[in-house]
Assembly symmetry: C2
Homo-oligomer: 179 residues x 2
DNA sequence: AAGCTTGTTCATTTTTTTCTAAACAGGCTA
DNA sequence: TAGCCTGTTTAGAAAAAAATGAACAAGCTT
C-alpha cells in the first residue's frame, strides 16, 4: 500500500497554524515527487520525505511538526535533517522568543547540486585520483605483462584518467550554468 | 575485511590465456575504483565489480571467467551483465567458432553517461512532469488555501517546474559536451 | 534422443540499510 | 534543584536490497 500523508483525525490542539486539508493534499503530492527523486539519487526515502515536507510548507517547520506530519520517529528525523543540512538543502530559521529550531528549504537548484557534488562526487574523484596514479605506476613499469596486454592496459588507464579529468573540469561548471 | 581479487592458488588447467599475477594485481586496483563508483551511483557492488573486471581485461571475457575471477554466483553475474548491457556499458563480442558470449566494455564516457540519463534520470523527469502538472492545477484553483499560503505554494510549484525544465534542457547537453 | 555447455530465472537466504524507541544531554523555567 | 522541552545518540528491530543456488531452458554434439 502507498504511504499516506493525510492529516490524522485527532489533531493535537493548541498548535498554531494547522495546515488545511487541501494544503495537506498538495503537500502529499510534493512529497511523492521528492521521494521519487530520493530513489533516483540513492538516498533514503525518509530524507526525500523530510525535504519534501519542508519544501512544500508555506512557512518554516519545527522538528516536532516534521515528526508528526510524516509519522517518522524522532531518530529518523534527526538523522535526516542532519544529512540535509550537511548538503545545504535545508537551513534553520531563527524565530525570536522560540527555543525550537525552524527548518526552511534551500530552493536554488545550483546550491543543491553544488552540495551533492561537494559531499558525494568530489570525494570519490579525489580518491580515484590517487588510485589511478598507483595503477598507472604498476602498468607503466609493467613487470610480468606481455607486451600486447600491457598496451591495452595502458590505454585503459589512460581512458580512466581522461574520464576523471573531464569530470573534474566539467562538474564544477555545471553549477555555474544552473544559475 | 576487504574483498580480495587475487588469483586462487588452485588455478584451473587448460584455460587459454590465464592472467598473470601482475595483471591480476592491476585488475584488483581497477575493480576497487569501479566498486567505489558503483557506491556513488547507488548501484550494487557486484555491478561495479563486473564492469571493473571487464574494463580491466585486455581481451573480452566469457561469462564463466567473470564468475571465477570475482567469486560471484552465476545468478549475480547474469543479472549484473543484463543491467550493464541495458545501460550500454558492456557489449557482447562475437568470436567465430565459439558458442559462448564474450563481453567487452564500452569505454566512451559520453555513451555511459547517456545510458545513465536514459535509464535512470529521464524516466524520473517524465514522471515528475505529470505530477507537477497536477499539483499546479490544485495550487492554482486553490480551494481552501488562505491567500498567503497559496502565494508561497504557487511560488514553490513554479520553482520545481523551473528545476525540471532546466534539467530537461541541460542534461542532454551534458552528453554532447563530453564528446 | 541422451548428454554436454552456456546462461537465465526465481524462490530463498544473507547482508546491508534504514528505522525505531528508549536512554540521554543540555538548557530553560519555576 | 526538580521538572519540562527540544533534540541527539545508539542498540537493536524491521525492512529492503543483493546474492546465492538449484531448477530450468535452449542449443550443440554425438
Amino acid at each position: 500500500m502507498a504511504k499516506s500523508y493525510s492529516k490524522p483525525s485527532t489533531a493535537s490542539p493548541g498548535v498554531i497554524n494547522e495546515p488545511s486539508e487541501s494544503q495537506l493534499a498538495i503537500q502529499a503530492q510534493f512529497i511523492e515527487i521528492f521521494v521519487s527523486a530520493a530513489a533516483v539519487l540513492g538516498v533514503p526515502r525518509s530524507i526525500g520525505e523530510i525535504y519534501g515536507v519542508i519544501f512544500s510548507a508555506p512557512r518554516p517547520l519545527t522538528f516536532q511538526e516534521i515528526v508528526e506530519r510524516l509519522n517518522l520517529s524522532k531518530g529518523s528525523v534527526s538523522q535526516g535533517l542532519r544529512a540535509l543540512r550537511s548538503l545545504g538543502a535545508v537551513r534553520t530559521a531563527y524565530v525570536p522568543g522560540d527555543r525550537r529550531d525552524y527548518f526552511e528549504p534551500e530552493t536554488e537548484l545550483r546550491n543543491l547540486v553544488a552540495g551533492l557534488l561537494r559531499d558525494r562526487i568530489n570525494p570519490h574523484l579525489e580518491q580515484a585520483k590517487g588510485r589511478l596514479a598507483r595503477v598507472r605506476q604498476q602498468v607503466t613499469d609493467g613487470g610480468g605483462l606481455n607486451t600486447d596486454e600491457a598496451l591495452v592496459l595502458r590505454a585503459r588507464v589512460a581512458k580512466l584518467e581522461s574520464w576523471r579529468k573531464k569530470s573534474a573540469l566539467f562538474l564544477p561548471l555545471v553549477t555555474k550554468v544552473l544559475g
